[in-house]
């Protein structure tokens, strides 16, 4: 029913991974080209502002170092999102231990999300951004992964360490809240 395109994407990713395992470094370049932009966008949603490139690079380094543990039936992008999210959480914890004042609650994510406003050209986009900034962190993560990144509820649950049912509930609550804001 779903995924004519996504299945092709998944099989292309698998083929590239096999080529890289066989020693073809050009396959690594193709993999990075296919997913780097989405990872940079997701890093922004996770509240990363200053060192997005570094987070994306570290995500790829972790992923390639652990590529043998990647399940062939999984989506590479979903797996990369999962790694990136854990990496961001680890970095925040490390910064907290070093004494840096780092917010890891909703407020931080909202300020991070607001930082993306400058990148949005038109007023409609900024209005959507404001609507989404009112959501809880979990609602926003689920909503953007579902609508903007095209992830299924199952994949969202995997990325966020949640359940499929919980992701579904967060999505519907987020949709109701955004619609109400935009209708006003």
């Amino acid at each position: 029913m779903i995924d004519a395109t996504q299945q092709e994407d998944a099989s292309l990713d698998r083929a590239l991974i096999e080529q890289w395992k066989a020693g073809d470094q050009r396959a690594a370049t193709s993999i990075v080209e296919r997913h780097a932009e989405a990872l940079a966008r997701f890093a922004g949603r996770l509240g990363v502002t200053d060192d997005v490139d570094e987070v994306v690079q570290d995500t790829f380094i972790r992923a390639f170092a652990a590529m043998d543990s990647f399940r062939a039936d999984a989506s590479l992008r979903t797996w990369l999102f999962t790694i990136e999210r854990r990496l961001v959480i680890d970095r925040r914890r490390a910064q907290s231990r070093r004494g840096h004042h780092v917010e890891i609650d909703d407020a931080h994510a909202i300020s991070g999300f607001d930082a993306l406003d400058a990148l949005m050209a038109d007023e409609a986009a900024q209005r959507v951004a404001r609507a989404m900034a009112r959501l809880t962190r979990m609602q926003r993560d689920v909503f953007t992964l579902r609508v903007q990144e095209g992830r299924s509820y199952k994949e969202i649950a995997e990325i966020l360490g949640s359940t499929e049912g919980s992701a579904r509930v967060h999505y519907h609550n987020a949709m109701r809240a955004v619609r109400e804001y935009l209708d006003d």
Binding site: D3, A40, I61, V147
Partner: protein, 198 residues
């Protein structure tokens, strides 16, 4: 707010917006949206959210690739590398262990031919090189010169006559003090009528 009653199709609206549906499902959703006001309104929101996807600068791909761990191209060296040597060593241990086990189960004791000793009465004097009183199996020993066709066995007391048993007991009395686990050098054994060694 109007609610949609066909939640199965409503659930697919985000996939409809991203273009991830196959043709048949795409037609079903299109047909449903044309009749469902709730889904029509939701579709407007989804398209606006999708369009508001932030544009981020593309990270430096070459810099990322340069930092990645390299993967060695598998070759002949890898095929016959450490794993192969480990397997060969394991195979050797299994073969050696199996052979040892087989020998232990068979319990065969190779008894070298015993040179004839002058001055013995029965013409087939033997010296026991190996104590074998703990086994009941009969061990075929090459017969010494001059007594071909005579089979011998260790430890089969039922073949002995009363006199032979008595003589053996007298000899054992003389050996009192010797440990049972050590060989008894220099004690002559003779072949009995039943093939046993005395």
């Amino acid at each position: 707010m109007i609610e949609c009653t066909t939640t199965e199709l409503q659930d697919l609206l985000p996939d409809f917006v991203t273009g991830a549906l196959d043709d048949i499902t795409m037609s079903r959703v299109t047909s449903h949206v044309s009749r469902c006001q709730a889904c029509t309104e939701e579709l407007v929101v989804l398209r606006a959210v999708r369009a508001a996807r932030p544009r981020v600068p593309m990270p430096d791909v070459q810099q990322i690739v340069a930092a990645l761990p390299t993967r060695q191209r598998p070759g002949r060296g890898a095929m016959f590398g450490r794993s192969a040597w480990r397997m060969a060593a394991a195979l050797g241990i299994i073969i050696a262990g199996g052979a040892s086990l087989q020998l232990a189960r068979r319990g065969l004791v190779s008894v070298p031919p015993v040179p004839e000793r002058p001055g013995t009465t029965d013409g087939a004097p033997l010296v026991a090189n190996t104590p074998t009183f703990d086994t009941a199996e009969t061990v075929a020993v090459r017969a010494p010169i001059g007594v071909s066709g005579v089979s011998m066995s260790y430890g089969d007391l039922t073949d002995l006559s009363e006199d032979e048993l008595q003589r053996m007991l007298e000899r054992l009395d003389k050996w009192d003090g010797a440990t049972s686990t050590e060989p008894l050098p220099g004690v002559p054994l003779s072949v009995t009528a039943g093939g046993g060694i005395l």
